[in-house]
Subunit: 206 residues, 2 copies
DNA sequence: ATGTTATTTAATAACTCTATTAATACGATA
DNA sequence: TATCGTATTAATAGAGTTATTAAATAACAT
């Protein structure tokens, strides 16, 4: 068992924990396991983070922010609404592509642990309001121009979320069932990126 | 602690376990907890099902079948393709409405436990093939009639799955964040049933 | 070199969980 | 009523978990 002299041990533990939590969720991951993955003694995990819960929270909150990030960045633009929307959808898609296990973690913890949901409520409740109201305004303008049908920002967001999230949530399952090669899998994913954009744009037509 | 003389204890245990597994997943539910919920001794749980794993499997496989059921029933029809598709989407939606925790259980277990996925692979792999090929045929016919654009049955299924599943997966979260009343929540759900059908039908237009 | 602080480890307390075992209650049947 | 199989329970072994503590070691400034 080597000492972690050079690297920041706290960071190494954090990363090992992140990987394991994403793979197996909170309950199925033990601090012993995290320590082993980080190449350190189990007590060190507690030395740096005191409890498993606190360690998880440090990771979860950061990940939560990543998860909703694309909806927050405002693309102040001279490009068309359709282009802006496409960019949003694809930004969300790409983020999930780089963090494919993220939806699992988020849903798993928010659904099984009511406390977690409660504690995040305060922090997250603000986001939808500010973001949605901006998109709402955008949508209203387009509706008046007659370029799209009337639809709530919430419904639109939920549709984007649904199409993008479920793809990455189910991808490992379909991949396994269909015995896809890396290449097939990549094609499948990229095909879906296009498909999702098409579905959403079409759903808005007047 | 009363004896469970009258009712079929095995069934009572099964139902208690089902409820708890759906709420909190496999790892977070203990046999002790199941026994308490079933009003019996913890050893009885093992007496009837030997292991927690076997108990779970008995429930999971049944639930898995429920989950994919709507895609399996063939509506041999004289009604139009659009109507048939609408019925399929709504049947799937209604099933999820009655089993809102089901997607959580299925994803949670298939994703965290590779063994589970492997063991189901054999049983489930057949289904997509038979079902998809039938829908594929339907789609091809419609494409030739010029009523829809070319699309794979798999993509269509994934879209339906995405829209319906994510709604029920995220519903408790949005409900909590937005402090929805029962009535608001019901409206929200019913509105989405319509919305999901619209999105999918529109996505198929030529 | 030496004292001081930060990091790391081994050991272990205190639980909790699964699974098994041995003993007991129940109910039908001979 | 004596007997037998099924249902049920208390007790507990055994493994694994989190968290704490005290001791050892490394790092570093003086």
């Amino acid at each position: 068992m080597k000492h972690q002299v050079d690297a920041n041990t706290e960071q190494v533990i954090l990363e090992a924990a992140e990987k394991l939590f994403l793979e197996k969720g909170f309950a199925m991951t033990s601090t012993t396991e995290i320590a082993k993955a980080a190449g350190c003694n189990q007590a060190l995990v507690h030395y740096y983070f005191r409890t498993k819960e606190k360690l998880f929270e440090a990771i979860f909150e950061k990940k939560m922010r990543t998860f909703v990030a694309p909806f927050l960045q405002n693309s102040d633009n001279n490009i068309s609404f359709e282009e802006r929307l496409t960019q949003l959808i694809e930004a969300h898609f790409d983020l999930l592509k780089e963090n494919p296990k993220l939806p699992f973690l988020v849903f798993n913890e928010l659904l099984t642990n009511p406390t977690r949901l409660e504690s995040l409520k305060g922090k997250l409740a603000v986001i939808p309001q500010t973001v949605l109201s901006k998109i709402e305004k955008d949508l209203k303008a387009e509706v008046e121009k007659g370029t799209i049908r009337p639809i709530s920002a919430f419904d639109l967001m939920l549709t984007i979320l649904s199409l993008n999230v479920t793809l990455f949530l189910t991808a490992p399952i379909f991949r396994s069932i269909n015995n896809m090669s890396d290449e097939n899998f990549d094609n499948f994913i990229e095909n879906r990126r296009r498909e999702n954009v098409i579905i959403i744009l079409r759903s808005l037509k007047p």
